[in-house]
Amino acid sequence: MALETVIGLEIHVELATKTKIFCNCANEFGAPPNTHVCPVCMGSPGVLPVLNEEALGLGIRAALALNCEVRRDSKFDRKNYFYPDNPKAYQISQYDEPIGEHGYVEIMVGEEKRRIGITRVHLEEDAGKLNHAAFEDASYVDFNRAGVPLIEIVSEPDIRSAEEARLFLEELKAIMQYCLISDCKMEEGSLRCDANISLRPVGQETLGTKTEIKNMNSFRNVQRGLEYERSRQAAMLGAGESISQQTLRWDEASATTVVMRSKEDAHDYRYFPDPDLPRIRLAEEYIEERGREIPELPSARRDRFERGYGLPAYDAGVLTAMRSLADYFDETAKHVTDPKTASNLIMGEILAYLNAAGKDIANLPMRPRQLADLIGLVEDGTISTKIAKDVLKGMMSSGKDANAIIAEQGLVQISDEGQLREIALRVIAANPKSVADYLAGKDKAIGALVGQVMKETKGKANPQLINKIIAELIRQA
C-alpha cells in the first residue's frame, strides 16, 4: 500500500525589535542572565503591558509577506499555564483572532512549484529560559528572553516530504530575512520549528494519526527528524500496528525521536481576552504602509536573476538565499558586462572566504562597486583571471580598491609584445625538447613553454598573447 506523508509545521520567529513586546527592556540575545529584566517582564504584582508598535508592525509585515489576510480588528488573549519560565503564569498571545490568516508560501520542489498554505500568523511573547543543573536536583530561570516578541506561523498540512519541509523552512527564513522581520538564527533560537507528521494511504482524504516532533534545532535536523519519523510510522503501519498520538523529541545524538509525552496531556489553557490590552484596530492606510515595507521577495528575485541577468537557476537560487548576498550581487551586476563572472566570484571565492571567516557579506570590507571594478580589469585585459583571484583576496581583507593593490604589487598584465617576444625566445632556446615535441605534433607541449614564460613574469604575462607569440616563434624557427 502506497503511503502519503502529511506534514504541517509550527514556526516561532523572534522579531528583530530593539525592545521587548510589552516593555522597554532590550531585546538582545546573549546578555548575562537576568540583566534585561524589569517589573513588567518579570511579572511583578501590579504591572501592565504596553504594546511595542514595532512588534505590531513587523507582525503585520510578516503576515502580508506570507500572503495572509490581515485582521482589521483583533485582540490579545491570555494563555494560562504554570511553568517557571512563564513569569505571569499566562502568556499573552492571540487565540481566536490572529493578526493574519489564510496565506501561503510558494516553493520549488525540483521543477515543480508547490504552494504551502499558511493557516495563521499571530503575535505573542516569548518565555524565559530554563537552564538545568547537571548534578543537582534544580533548574535555573533567566528572564532575559521573557517578553521577546514572537510571531507564530502555522502551516496547513500541505507538506508532503521531509525535503519539502526543509525547502519550505528555507523559503520562510529567506522571506523573514528579506523583510528584516527576524535574523532567523536557529542556533540562537530566533527561529524554532515544531512539526506534525502523519501518514495515510494515497488517495485517502482523512488524515492519519499524527505525532508532533519538537527540538529540531537546525534545518538539517528538521529534515532528518521528519525522515526518521516517516519511516518509523511507515514501518509500524506496515506491520499492522497503529500510531499513537504523541509528542516526540528529536534526539540528535541517537538520530531518533524520543517520546516526551504520551497522549496529549490535558492542556486546558483557559484562553480569554486580556483585559489589560485594548483591541487592535488597524486603519487601511496603516496596513498599506506595512505592505510597502515589503521588498522584492526571494522568489521574485530568483526569477529576475534568471531572466534579467541570464543566470542558471542554480546560481539564482544560491544568490537569493540571503538578502544581503542578493543585494550584493545585484549591486555588482549593475556595473559589469557579464553578470555570470560576478556570480562565479561571489559563489566561489567570496562565499568560501566568508564561510571561513564566519562573516556576513554585509560586513565585507570590499563593496560591490569595487568588485565590479575588479571584474572590469579582467574584462579589459589589465590583469589575468589568475591575478584577479589574488587581488580579490587582498580586497576582501583590506577593502582596498583593485587598482591600489595592483599598483602596490606591480601586477599589471604584460601585454607588450616586444617584451614578451624577448622572454619567449629565451625560453624556447632553453627548452629544445618541448619545442621538438610541439613540432612532432604534441600541441600540449606548448603549455610547458607558456608556463615557463609565466614563471619568469610572475604570472603577469597575458596568456593569450604569449601563446600566440610562442607558436609563431617556433613555426618561424
Binding site: 511583578s44 504584582p45 501592565l48 504554570f82 517557571p84 503564569a89 533548574s139 483585559p275
Partner: protein, 486 residues
C-alpha cells in the same frame, strides 16, 4: 496636635500661613495612629521613618500645591518602591516592590507624604476586610462591626482621623461600600480615568483606584492629582482632565437624577428606605428633577460579576507561584508540589474559592456558558445605563443595602457577603464613575448615598454630591467609638 479631619484646603491654608509645618501634620498622623490604631487596626505598615525624613525636608517651605506636605496612606495593593506591599496576603507578606504605582508617583510629585499602607481583604476580595490575611479592621463607629471592604483600612483610617485622605481601589464597590459604612466620602472614577499601573490586579477590567476623603471637595482635589493618561497603562484614557474644583458650584438646579425602580423594588431595609427618601427630598429641594429610570438587567449583575471577577482573578493571581517573589513552601518534593503547597498555604480561603470558581468558568467546555455569557450580560448592563443616561444626568442609589454588619456575621456564607455589593457592582461592570457620600445614620451607624455618572463625567457626580453635602450635615460627622475628637 492638629486635627487631620478639617479638610485638605484647611490643612493647606495652615501650611501656607507657616503656623503649621508638614512635620506637624505628619507627627499628628502618627500620634493618632499610635493612639487608636491598636483598636481600629487599619494599618498594615507604617512608614514613619521615611515620612519624617520627607516632612523635615519640607519643613519651613511654603507648599507648592494643595497636597504638598500633607500626609496620606495607600491601600496595600498599590506598589510602593522599597515599602512592603502585601495585598493583605500571606503570600506577599515580605514582598518589597522594585517600583512604585503611578498614583504613588503622582502623589509623591505633588508633595504628599506617605505614612503607611492600609489593611484590606486579601487581594481585594471581600466586603468586610475580614478576609485580610493578617487581621480584621474595625469600624471606628462601632468596633464590633466591620468597616466594609475591601478598602476597609482606608475607610477606617480616614473616618478616625489618622490620615486626611487615602487611596483605595474599587472592583465591585470596594471604595464606596466601606466609605458608606465608615461615614466618609468614597469616589470610584470612570474605568480608565486613573492609571492602574502598580495596582495589584484583582479583576483587571473592573479595578479602579480612587480617593477616600472627609469631604466631596477633598475627593475632587485628590482625583485632580491622580487622574489622567498614563503611558504605562494601555487602558488609561487619553482625555483631558477637567478642573474638578470649578464643578463644585453648589448649584444643581435642573439636574436630572434617575431613580432606578429596579433598585428600589427590592425589599429594602426600612431604615435605609427612610434615609434614601430623605436624601431624595434634599436633592429635590436643591432644584434637581428626580425621574424614574429602568435598569432591567440589574438582577443579573451580581451573577455576571461573580463570574468575570473570579475568572480574571484566577489568571491575575497565577503569578504567585513562589518562583520570583513572595512566599514559597520550603518542604516541596518537586516543582508541582512546590506550586501546590506554596499557593495552598499562601492564599486564604476566599481567594482560593474565587480562583477555583474563576478557573472553572474559563475551563474548556464552560467558557461559553459562563465567562462569555457574563461578558454578554455586561453589555446589556452597559446598555441599560446608556439608555438611562439619555434621560438623566445621574443615577441615584443606596451605596449598600444596609449599614455595617457585625464582625463574623457573614463570614460563613460567601453568597450573603456578595449581596452587600448589589448596588455597587453594576457600576463597575459598566465602567462608570460613582461616589458614595454620607447621608444619615441608621441606629447610630452611617449610611451612604451613591450617585452614578456618565462615562468620564466625574465633574457632574462631584457637583451633585457636593451640593447635597453642603445642604446636609452628614459629612464630617465623627465616630464616637474611638473618641470623636483627635
Amino acid at each position: 496636635m492638629q486635627d487631620l479631619t478639617v479638610g485638605i484646603a484647611q490643612l493647606h491654608d495652615w501650611l501656607k500661613s507657616g503656623d503649621v509645618t508638614s512635620l506637624d501634620l505628619v507627627a499628628a498622623s502618627f500620634a493618632r495612629i499610635g493612639a487608636i490604631d491598636s483598636a481600629v487596626q487599619a494599618f498594615l505598615t507604617v512608614t514613619e521613618e521615611a515620612a519624617l525624613v520627607r516632612a523635615k525636608e519640607n519643613a519651613g517651605k511654603t507648599p507648592d500645591g494643595i497636597l504638598d506636605g500633607i500626609p496620606f496612606a495607600l491601600k496595600d495593593n498599590m506598589a510602593t518602591r522599597g515599602v512592603k506591599t502585601t495585598c493583605g496576603s500571606r503570600i506577599l507578606e515580605e514582598y518589597i516592590p522594585p517600583y512604585s504605582a503611578t498614583v504613588m508617583d503622582r502623589l509623591d510629585a505633588a508633595g504628599g507624604v506617605l505614612v503607611g499602607k492600609l489593611n484590606m481583604d486579601e487581594f481585594a476580595m471581600g466586603s468586610s476586610t475580614e478576609n485580610s490575611g493578617f487581621f480584621p479592621t474595625r469600624n471606628p463607629w462601632n468596633l464590633g462591626t466591620v468597616p466594609g471592604g475591601s478598602s476597609g483600612g482606608a475607610a477606617a483610617a480616614v473616618a478616625s482621623g489618622m490620615v486626611p485622605y487615602a487611596l483605595g481601589s474599587d472592583t465591585g464597590g470596594s471604595i464606596r461600600q466601606p466609605a458608606a459604612y465608615c461615614g466618609v466620602v468614597g469616589l470610584k472614577p470612570t474605568y480608565g480615568r486613573v492609571s492602574r499601573y502598580g495596582l495589584v490586579a484583582y479583576a483587571s477590567s473592573l479595578d479602579q483606584i480612587g480617593p477616600l476623603t472627609r469631604t466631596v471637595e477633598d475627593a475632587a482635589l485628590v482625583l485632580q492629582a491622580i487622574a489622567g493618561y498614563d503611558h504605562r497603562d494601555s487602558t488609561s484614557v487619553n482625555l483631558p482632565v477637567p478642573d474638578y474644583m470649578t464643578a463644585l458650584t453648589g448649584d444643581i438646579r435642573g439636574l436630572r437624577i434617575g431613580l432606578p425602580k429596579d433598585y428600589f423594588a427590592h425589599d429594602m431595609d426600612a431604615g435605609m428606605r427612610k434615609v434614601m427618601d430623605a436624601a431624595m427630598e434634599v436633592l429635590r429641594g436643591l432644584g434637581a428633577e428626580l425621574v424614574e429610570v429602568e435598569l432591567p438587567h440589574t438582577e443579573y449583575a451580581l451573577s455576571a460579576y461573580y463570574l468575570i471577577a473570579p475568572a480574571e482573578a484566577s489568571s491575575n493571581l497565577a503569578r504567585y507561584d513562589g518562583v520570583r517573589y513572595g512566599f514559597r513552601a520550603k518542604d516541596a518534593e518537586n516543582l508541582l508540589d512546590m506550586y501546590n503547597k506554596t499557593r495552598s498555604r499562601g492564599f486564604g480561603t476566599e481567594v482560593k474559592r474565587r480562583i477555583l470558581i474563576g478557573t472553572y468558568a474559563l475551563s474548556s467546555g464552560y467558557y461559553d456558558a459562563y465567562y462569555k455569557r457574563a461578558q454578554q450580560v455586561r453589555t446589556l448592563i452597559r446598555r441599560d445605563f446608556e439608555t438611562a443616561f439619555e434621560r438623566v444626568d445621574l443615577v441615584f442609589a443606596p451605596t449598600a443595602p444596609t449599614t455595617a454588619f457585625k464582625l463574623g456575621e457573614k463570614t460563613s456564607d460567601p453568597l450573603t457577603m456578595y449581596l452587600s455589593d448589589i448596588y455597587t457592582i453594576p457600576v463597575n461592570l459598566a465602567g462608570l464613575p460613582a461616589i458614595s457620600v454620607p447621608c444619615g445614620l441608621i441606629d447610630g451607624m452611617p449610611a451612604g448615598l451613591q450617585l452614578i455618572g456618565r462615562m468620564f463625567d466625574e465633574a457632574t457626580v462631584l457637583r451633585a454630591a457636593h451640593a447635597y453635602e453642603q445642604a446636609t450635615e452628614w459629612t464630617g460627622k465623627r465616630p464616637q467609638a474611638i473618641g470623636g475628637q483627635a
